[in-house]
Amino acid sequence: MGRGEGMVIGGRVIMRLSPNAIRDLARGRVAALVSATNGKTSTTRLLATAVEQAGPVISQHTGANMTSGVVVTLATGDPDATAVLEVDEAYLPQIFQATAPRVILLGNLSRDQLDRMNEVAMVARRWREMLIGAEQTTVVANADDPSIVWAARHAPHVIWVAAGQVWTADSAVCLDCGALLRRDGDEWGCPQCGFARPTPEWTLEWTGEHGIVQGPDGATYDLHLQLPGRFNAANGALALVATVALGLDPGESARRMATVQSVSGRYAVVRVGELTIRLLLAKNPAGWTELVDVMPPAPTPVIVTINSNAADGRDPSWLWDVPFERLRGRTVVATGDRRRDLAVRLLHAGVDHVVIEDPYAPGAPLPDGMRDLDVVDCAATYTAFHRLRTTAEQQ
């Protein structure tokens, strides 16, 4: 049993003993909740690290972000510490009610685990209802994601951050009237009812190397994160603004966030069997779209591991929304419980592939050159990712 699973069971026991456990444990000390389809674990870690400038902080260390994980985090940490908590999108309304956070950070919404989450519009609708009349809370929200804006725009206190949006396919339609949204550069809006991007107070600029966050007074803060890619700069920008909403110093926040090396194994380099792999968490089309750019160029072979346990989403048809065509010119090792779905997807994408049940076993028929690589990139869905982390730790 992994640590995360232990937390879940512990949390269930506490909730059984006291159904109001979250409310009792949270009382007055939850600084921030963080939710999004992608990046919530990284954003939470960045924010928690930044908030430590004001004193001790408790937060999840395992990504357990449903009710049980939140309860255990609150129950086992320093009882006087400030809490910065990651929360699953579907559980956010109930945990928001119970914890009354000072800040709630909303990053992005896109298709993910549709068997469990329902559709993006439904999540946005529940978030919107949650925020109506939430006078005690400041919402830090991504102005570039129309679903986030739709959910947050009637909240009493909102700070809009232009954090960017790469994956637009799940916010093509106006949630108010159903018309197709128009996009023009950073701007977007509904031609029919006028729903449009709010004017952001804070903006993120990505240089290709690092992020530059600019505040409403024109002051800028450089984000030199160790976590790679533009999407992590977006996570950092939202976290930085959340610390401003908490009355903290954004410059100090940026400095502290730059110390975060790896979050719950993401991008960690580990040894599994005979291979040294870099772990990439790739669990939905939006996340994949950003990850392909982080991988070394073709013809370097890579491993892709697809599972369909509850935490991965039971339905892997999202593989067809991932632009796997961009992996052409290299051989992909298809593995995981749903390696056959991946193989059919790669067949249609024109990507050379081999299906291997256990690529880490001695003598596995790996593609030419893979054994000679110092580090092999391995993109994996949630449960596959955690299985690899656990295996690496045990070795």
């Binding site: 018309a179 197709l180 999202w318 929304d321 997807r345 249609h348």
Partner: protein
């Protein structure tokens, strides 16, 4: 040259249904057929001269928007009446019918080119779906369903198959077939997991029956999925 019209893939493409267009292109290539894909986004006019029209699934508000635009334009209906093939999944399937429930469960008129009517299932159907095929198909149908629609077939439509695992239309049948129009709840995507349906549609488009060409990757996936749900 087959003209394949992909209708509103942004509005109707929530569950990987864009893969159906990829699968049709792929099967056409195997069969030695040329395909031109015309992608029509919401707000654009649907061409009337297509050979094969494809629609995916989508959220409630997108479904209503798509249905209203397609009814106003009329091109899909006119193309279907002259015998063009139409293939639609889930929300797309429902909107081919007489009516379907909108986001507030109010019956909303569809295109009326398939003799089906959709209301709500008592409980959302989410999971693997397998069905025994009916003529002209003979391979077991496999896919994943995620919908709340109960679809009732009228006398002018026949089920695509009979459910062995899952919910399908809600009455033991799955999907509907009428002339060259096919509607189904199978995501997965449907045509990648059921290439026989892809070949049927392509055969209609070129006016002759196509031989079935087996691909080992696809067979391995089908066997695994059917083993999972039927054993």
């Amino acid at each position: 040259m087959i003209t394949l019209v992909s209708i509103y893939p942004t509005l109707l493409g929530t569950y990987g249904d864009g893969g159906n267009v990829m699968a049709l292109k792929h099967r056409a290539e195997l069969q030695g057929l040329d395909v031109e894909v015309v992608t029509v986004e919401s707000g654009e006019a649907v061409p009337e001269s297509g050979d094969l029209y494809v629609m995916g699934g989508g959220e409630d508000s997108a479904q209503t928007a798509a249905s209203n635009a397609l009814r106003a334009g009329g091109a899909v209906k006119r193309a279907a009446e002259r015998g063009a093939a139409v293939f639609a999944i889930c929300a797309g399937y429902q909107l081919l019918g007489e009516y379907f429930p909108d986001a507030t469960s109010t019956p909303t008129p569809g295109l009326g080119i398939l003799d089906v009517r959709t209301d709500r299932l008592p409980k959302r159907a989410v999971g693997e779906l397998a069905a025994t095929a009916r003529d002209p198909l003979d391979q077991v149908l496999t896919g994943y369903e995620n919908h709340a629609g109960a679809t009732h077939l009228g006398p002018d439509a026949t089920p695509l198959g009979m459910v062995k695992a899952g919910i399908g239309n809600g009455d033991g049948s799955e999907g509907a077939l009428s002339g060259h129009i096919v509607g189904t709840y199978l995501h997965g995507p449907c045509l990648a997991r059921n290439p026989q349906i892809a070949d049927l549609l392509l055969g209609w488009a070129v006016g002759r029956e196509l031989p079935f060409i087996e691909e080992p990757e696809v067979t391995a996936l089908r066997e695994e999925r059917l083993r999972t749900v039927l054993d």
